[in-house]
Amino acid sequence: MREVVEKKVLSENDRVAGELRQRYRDENILCVNVISSPGSGKTALLEKTLASFPQGTPVAVLTGDLQTDNDARRLARYGFPVRQIVTGGTCHLNARMVERHLDEMGFKGPGLLLVENVGNLVCPSSYDLGEAAKIVLLSVTEGEDKPLKYPGIFHRSSLMLLTKTDLLPHVDFDPQLAHENARKIHPEIDFIALSSRTGEGFPEWLAWLKALQEKVLQTSAATIS
């Protein structure tokens, strides 16, 4: 005898993510979930992003890794609240981890919460963290066909950042082709090419964040400048 269940496999994660989403709405927090392979430049992106904010800007960072607090130490130099989530082997962040560390950090809105996921293009795409947007990074030292090889994350991401563009003269990488491949999976995906070393593309990236913040946090004035 067959009994219909109809339940999401990750319904418990989805439930906690729903609570986080409500909390972000209530407190006027814009949360973005930054995802990429290991070594594509997530931490460098966040460093440069934090460096561009005036002191006192309401911004906090949660950064996930299997081991070490190296990233948190790198990011803490910019004077904003940063907390390391050590997953101890788990290959992705889940909503419960974010909830716990957010509570412990005591970050209150309004403001911007940057979540740096564990370096992995596969598993983080399945776990909703209550974020307003997923942002996927692809660096120019990887292959242009990564969107085709890992369609799940490119399908779910609102923005693709092509990173390390300062290396373009030294590598055989076709940015146009990478963008086209991402659009094959997700025609509406936004695309910005940038370099965290030279700052190329950062005005566009910061404008994208600000526009998202204005869209999501309709009730309050923008908190990042």
Partner: protein
């Protein structure tokens, strides 16, 4: 890569049902896995078997329904399966569509064992 976590979430759901109805015996659990869910069917089956071995759920079967990516055309309303990454509508050729399938990661059903008939 995270199939062990997925398999254990499926088993938690089965355990919850078992607690609700201790008399019920489950023969199989049916799941739907979408092409865009980033879950590998073989790895999931392997993880499921490893987690149930030598437990009271050792005889529980995992039945996987694989769901391809499906789109619905925003111009003509055609619903279609995506082949070779080509998102264009096979009916009218438009490239404006919305995803209606392929992200599934659902528990669809539980198969109950038929009660033994005592002779």
């Amino acid at each position: 890569m995270h199939e062990v976590g997925i398999a254990s979430s499926i088993l938690e759901c089965v355990e919850a049902e078992t607690r609700k109805r201790p008399e019920a015996r489950f023969a199989a659990v049916g799941v739907r896995i979408g092409e865009l869910s980033n879950v590998d069917k073989d790895a999931l089956t392997f993880a499921f078997e490893a987690l149930t071995r030598n437990t009271r759920l050792a005889d529980l079967k995992l039945e996987v329904e694989w769901c391809p990516r499906r789109q619905k055309c925003l111009a003509c309303g055609e619903a279609y399966e995506v082949r070779d990454l080509d998102l264009r509508c096979p009916a009218c050729g438009e490239n404006k569509s919305t995803c209606i399938g392929g992200t599934e990661l659902d528990i669809a059903y539980l198969e109950l064992e038929e009660p033994c008939v005592k002779s």
